[in-house]
C-alpha cells in the first residue's frame, strides 16, 4: 500500500537517507512557474513557515515514520481505540455540559429537557452513556493485551504504572458520572458507593465526607461530583494520556513476544552489515 507522496507537504516528508535525491524540503522555486504551480506550493510554504518558527517537523516526522516492529497485529490497535473512546466521551460530554444544570433541584429537569426537547439530545446522551461502558471494556482489553504479551517489562514499567492510574481514573469517571442524571438509580447507587468508601481504614471517613461535601448528601454534593467529573479527572486524564503516549513514541511499541529476532541469525547478520 502506498500513500500518495504528493499529498504530504515537503517538511513532513519522510527524511531521505543521505545521498538520496528526491523528496527535498519543498522550498517553492516559483520562478517561471504558472499560477497553478505557485498555488500548489502554498501548503508546503505554510508548513515551512510554521516549521521555521517551531522546529516541529523533526518531532512530527520522527513520530510518523518511526518504525513499528515486525509482527505488530490488530491487538495493538486497542490502545488507540481506547484513546478514541475517550475523545468521543470528551466531545459528547461538552455537548451535555451545555444543557446540564448541576444543582439538586434542576439537574433532573435539565436532563429531561435534554432528552426530550433538544435536537439529537437523547442520541448524544446515549453515546456518552454507552461510550463509558465501551471505554471501560477497551481499557481492560488493552491492559489484557499488555499483560499477556509481557509488554509491561523493561523498559516500559513506568508506562504500565501510568496505565493503571488511567484505569483507576476511568473508573472514577464512571462512578462520578453515574450520579449526574440524578434519578433514583444513580442517586442510591452513589449513596451506597460513598458509604462503602466510608468503611475504609483511616482515610475512608474523610474521603466520603469530602465526596458528600459534608456528613450527609446535600445540595453541594452534586456540584462536587460535577466538578470532579468535568474538571479534575478529565484534566488528570488528559495529562496522563499525554505522558502515556509520549512514552509509547519514545520507547516504541513492543513486538509480539513470539516474534523473535534470533530465529534467523543469517538475515540478522545481513541487516547489520
Amino acid at each position: 500500500m502506498k500513500f500518495p507522496q504528493q499529498l504530504i507537504p515537503g517538511p513532513l516528508k519522510r527524511p531521505s537517507a543521505p545521498g538520496e535525491r528526491g523528496n527535498g524540503s519543498g522550498n517553492g522555486n516559483g520562478n517561471g512557474a504558472g499560477p497553478v504551480d505557485q498555488l500548489k506550493e502554498v501548503p508546503a510554504d505554510l508548513v515551512g513557515w510554521v516549521d521555521e518558527r517551531t522546529g516541529g517537523s523533526g518531532f512530527l516526522t520522527g513520530m510518523l515514520y518511526r518504525k513499528v516492529p515486525k509482527g505488530t497485529n490488530w491487538f495493538y490497535t486497542l490502545g488507540s481505540a481506547t484513546l478514541f473512546a475517550f475523545v468521543v466521551q470528551a466531545l459528547t460530554g461538552v455537548f451535555l455540559a451545555m444543557y446540564y444544570t448541576p444543582s439538586a433541584d434542576e439537574a433532573y429537569a435539565s436532563i429531561t429537557h435534554l432528552t426530550n426537547d433538544v435536537f439529537l439530545g437523547e442520541f448524544v446522551r446515549g453515546m456518552h452513556k454507552w461510550g463509558a461502558s465501551l471505554m471501560v471494556i477497551l481499557v481492560f482489553l488493552h491492559m489484557g493485551r499488555t499483560f499477556f504479551f509481557g509488554a509491561y517489562k523493561y523498559p516500559r514499567e513506568l508506562n504500565w504504572v501510568i496505565g493503571v492510574v488511567l484505569l483507576i481514573l476511568t473508573l472514577v469517571m464512571g462512578f462520578t458520572g453515574y450520579l449526574l442524571p440524578f434519578d433514583q438509580r444513580s442517586f442510591w447507587a452513589t449513596v451506597v458507593g460513598v458509604n462503602i468508601n466510608g468503611t475504609g481504614p483511616i482515610i475512608g471517613p474523610y474521603l466520603s465526607d469530602f465526596l458528600r461535601a459534608g456528613p450527609e448528601f446535600g445540595a453541594t454534593t452534586l456540584a462536587r461530583f460535577y466538578a470532579i467529573h468535568m474538571l479534575l479527572v478529565p484534566g488528570l486524564l488528559i495529562a496522563l494520556i499525554g505522558a502515556h503516549l509520549y512514552l509509547v513514541v519514545k520507547l516504541g511499541t513492543t513486538a509480539p513476544p513470539w516474534v523473535s529476532a534470533e530465529r534467523k541469525p543469517k538475515s540478522l547478520r545481513e541487516e547489520q552489515v
Partner: protein, 232 residues
C-alpha cells in the same frame, strides 16, 4: 532483569524495529479502522439502547435497592458474598485496594525477562484466573436480579401483583424466595402465616418502620394482596 538481559532485549528490539514498517501510513491505517469501529459501535448502542431516564432522585424513599453500573458489579458482588460485619471493610476496601496495588506494582515484582505467555505459567495462569473470577462475579452481580425483580414462580393470575410488589421495592427489606433482604419478615410463605385480611391491614397502615401503602390505586392494591395471599 539484569544488565545483560536488558541489553539483549534492547538489541533484539532494535532488529525487530528495523524489520518493521513505518507507523505512518501502516499502523495509522489500522488504528483509523479501529476508531471507525468504535464510533459505529457507540452510535449503534446509543440508537438501539437509548438513554432512558428513571424516576427522579428522592432522598426520602428508603425502599430503593441500589444498583451500580455494570462494571462495578464484581465489587458489589464481593460485598454481597462477604456478610460478617467485621469482614465488611475487608471486602469493600481491603480486597480492591490490594488488587490495585498488586496491579500497579506488577512490573516491579514480576522480574522474569521472559515475555511469551506460554513460558510464564504463573503470570499467565494468574491473569486468566483473575479474568475468570471477575467475569464470574460480574455475572453473579448481574444475575442477582434487578432491584425490581422477584423471580418466584407464581400462577399467571398473580403475576400482576408480583410486578406491583417488585415495583414498590419490597425487596429492600423483605425476602421473596431467593431475592430481597432480611431486614423485615421473610414473605416467601406469608400467605400460609397470615390470612388475607391481616395482610391487607398490614400493607395499608405499615407497621413499625414500614411505609403505609394505602395511597396505592385500588386495582394495584388488590393485585398486591392477592399475590401476597397466594404465597403458601
Amino acid at each position: 532483569m539484569n544488565r545483560a538481559e536488558k541489553e539483549q532485549y534492547l538489541r533484539e528490539y532494535e532488529v525487530l524495529k528495523k524489520k518493521g514498517k513505518p507507523f505512518f501510513p501502516y499502523a495509522v491505517l489500522k488504528d483509523s479502522a479501529m476508531m471507525f469501529v468504535v464510533v459505529v459501535v457507540v452510535v449503534a448502542m446509543s440508537l438501539v439502547l437509548g438513554a432512558e431516564q428513571g424516576p427522579k432522585a428522592d432522598p426520602t424513599t428508603t425502599t430503593y435497592v441500589p444498583r451500580p453500573e455494570w462494571y462495578f458489579f464484581f465489587l458489589f458482588e464481593v460485598l454481597r458474598v462477604i456478610k460478617p460485619p467485621e469482614l465488611v471493610p475487608l471486602a469493600t476496601i481491603g480486597i480492591p485496594t490490594i488488587a490495585m496495588v498488586l496491579l500497579l506494582l506488577l512490573p516491579f515484582y514480576d522480574r522474569n525477562p521472559e515475555r511469551r505467555p506460554e513460558r510464564r505459567p504463573i503470570a499467565t495462569t494468574a491473569g486468566i484466573m483473575t479474568i475468570v473470577a471477575m467475569a464470574y462475579l460480574t455475572f453473579l452481580g448481574a444475575a442477582a436480579g434487578s432491584p425490581t425483580e422477584i423471580e418466584m414462580e407464581v400462577e399467571p393470575q398473580y403475576e400482576a401483583g408480583r410486578e406491583v410488589a417488585a415495583g414498590l421495592g419490597c425487596l429492600a427489606c423483605h425476602k421473596f424466595g431467593e431475592n430481597g433482604n432480611s431486614l423485615a419478615p421473610d414473605l416467601t410463605h406469608i400467605g400460609a402465616k397470615l390470612p388475607a385480611n391481616a395482610i391487607e391491614r398490614t400493607v395499608r397502615v405499615g407497621p413499625s418502620f414500614m411505609p403505609p401503602y394505602e395511597d396505592l390505586p385500588p386495582d394495584k392494591f388488590d393485585d398486591l394482596i392477592d399475590f401476597l395471599s397466594s404465597l403458601q
